[in-house]
């Protein structure tokens, strides 16, 4: 089949529309373009409305991008100049990815020596040593218990299991047919399980400064025990640090990860950062069915609506969404800031993010939920 033949001139604008959509981030397969052309042919087309509907039906854009789709349609087929509407949106997301503050050093953690008196200082130091010991102990506990405690999901596949709930009729029958139809023993089946993906999004902005180092350590430990783990940091920029954290040696892993991140101690535009995260299909795919952990204080400088929208989208895809914030104290925590209130109904757990032990406790508590 030689497709090198030039397309009929009439078909040209339709094919280039598909190209335009692709350039604007719509995932469109060549096969869909063919279907689009056939659909237009089927409908007449008697009006541009027919063409638009054929486009919606065959390119299947996600509902939240209908507006973009329609804008592009008007630009392409009606010659309208509505680029400004679309442009705004694009710029917003790009800025998050490209803005650089260019500071390559991670902040020094835990320097909380505001009191001037020597006694107070000594006490603070004791407290700090204590908290470091508690942190390391918590991380060791995570390493020890995570393989058993991290949530697993039942797989679609079945496997032989001595104490499975289902009788493997197929195998039993096969064995019986070898013995002239005599059933000597019942084979059994159980559902296989797989560990769920874990996705960790860490806020590294200025307001989270004191926790950043500990959070990265937690991420590293978790990455060692969870084979399907993705880690991102965000502040004014979104950075994927999953690869360096796979390294076994902690100091080196953390140093490598730190080098990638360039927005330490910046401002926070959580909503835009999460939107940028979701805009990359490969990243957004990590959320599907995953245990999603977001470590952030939710002090949002951007638009709370954009944050709520992003969190809603994440929560729709995730298995459980936990929001770990240093502001959450106690089990009956009720969010107070505007941003946290807006996202409260999409978040499954608000977790005390003030210390590593409490975060580890939460990670290991999924086991109870499964038992229940």
């Amino acid at each position: 089949m030689s497709m090198h033949v030039t397309l009929p001139r009439a078909a040209q604008p339709f094919v280039s529309f598909a190209t335009l959509l692709r350039r604007n981030g719509f995932a469109i397969a060549p096969e869909q373009t063919t279907t689009f052309l056939t659909a237009i042919d089927l409908l007449g087309p008697r009006s541009t409305e027919d063409i638009r509907r054929a486009g919606l039906a065959t390119f299947a854009p996600p509902p939240e991008r209908f507006a973009d789709f329609n804008a592009l349609f008007r630009i392409h087929f009606l010659g309208e100049d509505t680029l400004s509407v679309l442009g705004d949106d694009e710029e917003e997301t790009v800025r998050v990815q490209e803005e650089q503050s260019g500071e390559d050093e991670p902040p020094l953690a835990d320097e909380v020596n505001e009191a001037g008196q020597a006694a107070a200082r000594a006490e603070a130091l004791v407290q700090r040593d204590f908290s470091i010991a508690a942190r390391d102990e918590a991380l060791r506990r995570l390493t020890r218990e995570a393989p058993m405690a991290l949530p697993r999901r039942r797989s679609y596949r079945r496997t032989r299991g001595k104490r499975g709930r289902m009788v493997d009729l197929r195998r039993t029958l096969k064995e019986a047919s070898r013995n002239d139809g005599e059933i000597l023993k019942l084979s059994r089946l159980k559902r296989r399980t797989r560990q769920r993906k874990v996705l960790l999004l860490i806020d590294v902005s200025g307001s989270m400064k004191q926790r950043t180092d500990d959070n990265l350590r937690l991420a590293h430990t978790l990455a060692q025990v969870s084979p399907r783990m993705e880690v991102f940091t965000f502040g004014t920029r979104l950075t994927r640090v999953s690869r360096p954290l796979q390294l076994k040696r902690r100091e080196q892993a953390l140093a490598n990860a730190s080098r990638l991140v360039s927005d330490w101690d910046g401002g926070t535009r959580i909503g835009d950062a999460l939107q940028a995260f979701l805009a990359v299909p490969r990243f957004a795919g990590y959320v599907r069915g995953a245990v999603v952990l977001i470590i952030s204080d939710g002090l949002e400088r951007g638009d709370p609506l954009s944050l709520a929208d992003a969190v809603a989208r994440i929560s729709r895809r995730a298995w459980r969404l936990s929001w770990m914030t240093p502001l959450a104290i106690g089990k009956n925590f009720k969010p107070q800031t505007e941003a946290l209130m807006a996202i409260a109904r999409f978040v499954d757990y608000f977790v005390d993010g003030r210390s590593t032990p409490s975060m580890v406790e939460h990670l290991l508590s999924f086991r109870k939920e499964l038992a229940a």
């Binding site: 995932a27 919606l56 029958l173 599907r288 729709r316």
Partner: protein
């Protein structure tokens, strides 16, 4: 791709819209277009939308229009091939082996095969419509498994070989969008997002579905439901709820209740969430008064 522009006498979206109307389904232009394209292109139709906007009803109506039997496959987390495709009748095979004694017997014959919805649709593509309902409830493995079925319309049964549909069966998938479906699945389908209808059409739907409801009642219900949908509720009332509400209010009214009161007392069929009810309670009177005005 085999294109049939004429399916049982339906040769345009408008013709399909007419036919759907006679099957008691009021379709708008967009859904009629998408459905027509799906039928003509021989592709599965994927309907997405909030619960209660009439996705399953659309599938039933399309089956009625085509004069085919609707086979429904309700999805759930953990659904697998033996529930969707086929299963061997093992007890029967067992008995057959016992009875056969010394004789030879084929225990993988037709009589031992239990058809599940997908196999049933594949075997009688000209007499059935396959509805794969709430695909978003199934897990990703099942979605991946569906891909194979939806692109080639064939099923392989190890003991018997590959079964291929003589013609492309009509397949309709619905999703409540509790999770995003995989791109590959969307790509293989003709897609339509069903939104809430405008008030004019919704009133007509209510009157068509619930024949005892007066027009004024229908309009009041549509107005009230429209207002409720703009509130930040955890579950907005769908079309099905609107129909129920109109019917319930009419029933109470016929039993002697006065109008605004009949609406108020039957709110439970429209809002089914305690938090939503208590959220709206203080303003319910005003809201209904406004809607019935």
């Amino acid at each position: 791709m085999s294109v049939r522009s004429n399916i049982v006498g339906i040769d345009s979206p408008e013709a399909l819209e007419q036919a759907l109307r006679s099957a008691y389904y009021l379709a708008d232009d967009a859904i009629a277009t998408a459905s027509y394209l799906a039928l003509a292109l021989g592709k599965p139709l994927l309907l997405e939308g909030a619960p209660g906007v009439g996705k399953t009803e659309a599938a039933k109506a399309i089956a009625a229009v085509l004069g085919r039997k609707l086979i429904r496959l309700q999805c759930y987390e953990g659904i697998d091939a033996s529930a969707a495709l086929y299963e061997w009748n093992y007890p029967r095979q067992m008995l057959a082996i016992r009875q056969a004694g010394e004789e030879n017997i084929d225990i993988y014959g037709e009589s031992f095969l239990i058809e599940r919805p997908m196999l049933a649709a594949l075997r009688a593509p000209d007499a059935t419509v396959l509805l794969i309902d709430e695909i978003d409830r199934s897990d990703q493995e099942f979605e991946a498994f569906l891909l194979e079925f939806l692109s080639d319309f064939q099923i392989s049964i190890p003991e018997r070989g590959t079964l291929r549909a003589v013609e492309r069966p009509v397949v309709i998938l619905t999703s409540n969008r509790t999770r995003d479906l995989h791109e590959a699945l969307r790509r293989r389908c003709v897609y339509h997002w069903i939104g809430y209808p405008n008030s004019e059409r919704e009133a007509r739907i209510i009157m068509m579905r619930a024949s005892s409801v007066a027009e004024a009642t229908a309009r009041s219900v549509v107005a009230a439901v429209g207002k409720l949908r703009r509130e930040p509720l955890s579950k907005s009332p769908g079309i099905a709820e609107a129909v129920d509400w109109a019917e319930a209010a009419t029933l109470l009214h016929n039993g002697g209740a006065r109008w605004p009161d009949a609406f108020k007392r039957s709110i439970g069929v429209a809002l089914k969430d305690e938090e939503d009810l208590s959220f709206i309670a203080p303003r319910l009177d005003a809201l209904i008064a406004e809607a019935t005005a």
